[in-house]
């Protein structure tokens, strides 16, 4: 397993409803990122289709594996790289049961997927109207370490990153489609989740304008000590590479030992109180 490797934050804008265009954008970014030495290339939430698909989500969603996965698998194999991107996923069992899903591909093809567990349905967001909640937060063992996936609003909740970390994740990848008015929340949460779990966190946000909503970019890699290892521009497309060295995990775990000091006996009470809210 590689202890040190390069991560590319591919902060792209997408064309709503145009998978062909978006796959081409991804291909170009993958090629450029590989030239810059990236081992892992991360794209934003729903980067296959754009974020605000509304009713088009039903016709755009695909099963996993499906045609778009095959197309991107070919690139991952050809470029011998890991890729994370987002797409509307169609259930294998019911045509119009959809998930907002993050996909992990590797040099041998599809590795796994994560279905978003917290679906924002307030303000300008209407995700529960289209998507079913995910129920699992898997960690994937790869040649670039143990990877956990999360999507956008998930990061407002400490539970998913903590669960991924407790399952052994060394790098949490959070893909996002966050509009500009929410940037300050994500700036705070990305640092907090990395720090409180002593884990690497790579956050990749969308840019561009969809339905009048402007996505702010600001993608970043946060080290387990909270420092920013790489940061993309605000509001513009960007491709930024950051280096991850897992040896830093050890140092952070000893300096602020949040994992050692966890109090699991609080979790039952948390659950009980949350259910009564």
């Amino acid at each position: 397993m590689l202890e040190k490797f390069n991560v590319a934050l591919a902060q792209i804008s997408c064309k709503v409803g145009d998978k062909k265009h978006n796959i081409n954008t991804m291909k170009k970014n993958i090629k450029q990122a590989k030239e810059k030495g990236a081992n892992l290339i991360i794209f934003p939430e729903l980067s296959l289709t754009g974020y605000l698909n509304r009713d088009l989500a039903y016709e755009l969603a695909e099963p996993i594996p499906g045609p778009s996965i095959h197309s991107l698998e070919e690139i991952a194999k050809k470029e011998n790289t890991y890729i994370v991107f987002g797409m509307p996923e169609q259930s294998e069992k019911a045509h119009n049961v959809l998930y907002n899903t993050a996909v992990l591909l590797g040099p041998n093809g599809l590795i796994g997927k994560y279905r978003k567990m917290h679906l924002p349905t307030h303000s300008v967001f209407e995700e529960k109207r289209y998507f079913r909640l995910g129920y699992e937060a898997p960690v994937f063992e790869t040649k670039i370490g143990k990877l956990g996936l999360a999507i956008c609003y998930d990061i407002f909740f400490p539970e998913i990153p903590r669960l991924l970390r407790l399952k052994g994740s060394q790098l949490i990848i959070c893909i996002s489609a966050s509009p500009a008015v929410r940037s300050r929340f994500f700036e705070a949460f990305t640092a907090t989740r990395a720090l409180e779990n002593t884990v690497f966190l790579a956050y990749v946000n969308l840019v561009g304008v969809e339905n009048g909503l402007q996505f702010w970019g600001g993608s970043r890699i946060i080290a387990p000590d909270g420092s920013i290892l790489a940061k993309a521009k605000y509001d513009e497309e960007d491709l930024v590479i950051g280096n991850i060295d897992y040896a830093d995990l050890k140092r952070a775990e000893a300096f602020v030992p949040t994992l050692r000091d966890l109090r699991p006996e609080l979790f039952d009470s948390l659950r009980e109180q949350a259910e009564k809210l």
Binding site: V16, N211, G212
Partner: protein, 280 residues
């Protein structure tokens, strides 16, 4: 929540950048040649024309001044010309007096004393002119309403409210003033008392019965789910004034929506047909 003028303060360079990006992005996605908008010489239309010019370049912005004899104001025309020169957009002056005259003459029920019905015709005639230019020149109609007016329903339905995009519609009037000064709209235009210009000596604040500095804070409180009694207490205002603003806001929702229909089909326009703007 503290309702002071500070609550309405925004990061103006960022607001300017976002509005410019929004205009450019949508015009390009539509494949349009630019925008056309009514320029009255008042603050809202002047700042919108200026922002569109900064976003697209003045050659892609066509301002139409549409004076008519009853409300003709030479200073407003002069301000429109001044702004067009400063921000480099094209300005055409089209006098709509004769169109209005013919229109009113053709109305069997025309009532010269009913200034609201008459005034609304002026706003709608201006809309007809703007859409003619837009069709003819493959441009989008750019609306100029601000958030205070839109929330109060202080506009003519399908008149000045009709547009393809409304770049300053999420800014209260007092925020529009801040942004105008930030981007260099001349202070004399920013300081003018707002008027829809539908009849002589019409003044927005007189008609609304409240100063924009107060109105905007009440609306800001309502936007943030505050109860009228909380707002009244915070601003030291009579509760009736706040309730009147809230009532007017709710009563004018019909002006901000597609026409209401009753649901009969599987998916219904304006209700549960939910499609993105300009996909593909």
């Amino acid at each position: 929540m503290k309702l002071t003028s500070g609550a309405l303060r925004l990061d103006m360079p960022s607001v300017e950048a976002r509005i410019k990006r929004f205009i450019k992005d949508y015009v390009e996605k539509c494949g349009a040649n630019g925008v056309v908008l009514g320029v009255s010489g008042g603050l809202d239309s002047c700042i919108t024309a200026a922002l569109a010019s900064l976003s697209l370049g003045g050659h892609k912005v066509l301002g139409i001044a549409m004076p008519e004899e009853e409300t003709y104001n030479a200073t407003d025309i002069q301000h429109s010309k001044l702004l067009a020169k400063k921000f480099g957009f094209d300005l055409q002056i089209v006098d709509i007096s004769s169109t209005l005259k013919v229109f009113f003459q053709s109305l069997p029920i025309y009532d010269v004393a009913d200034k609201v019905s008459k005034g609304n015709v002026k706003a709608r005639i201006r809309m007809v002119y703007l859409y003619y230019y837009a069709n003819k020149l493959n441009r989008l109609v750019c609306g100029t309403s601000d958030k205070s007016e839109i929330m109060m329903g202080y506009f003519t339905k399908w008149g000045d409210g009709a547009a393809d995009i409304s770049p300053i519609m999420d800014l209260y009037k007092t925020q529009v003033r801040q942004l105008a000064l930030h981007i260099g709209v001349p202070a004399e235009i920013v300081a003018k008392p707002p008027s829809p210009g539908l009849w002589p000596n019409q003044l927005a604040e007189k008609e609304l019965g409240i100063k924009y500095e107060i109105l905007d804070l009440i609306l800001f409180g309502l936007e943030h789910f505050m109860e009228p009694k909380e707002i009244a207490k915070e601003l030291n205002l009579p509760i009736k004034l706040v309730e009147d603003v809230k009532r007017r806001w709710l009563a004018t929702e019909h002006k901000r929506r597609l026409p209401l229909t009753t649901k009969l089909g599987y998916r219904t326009v304006g209700k549960d047909f939910r499609l993105p703007h300009k996909p593909y």
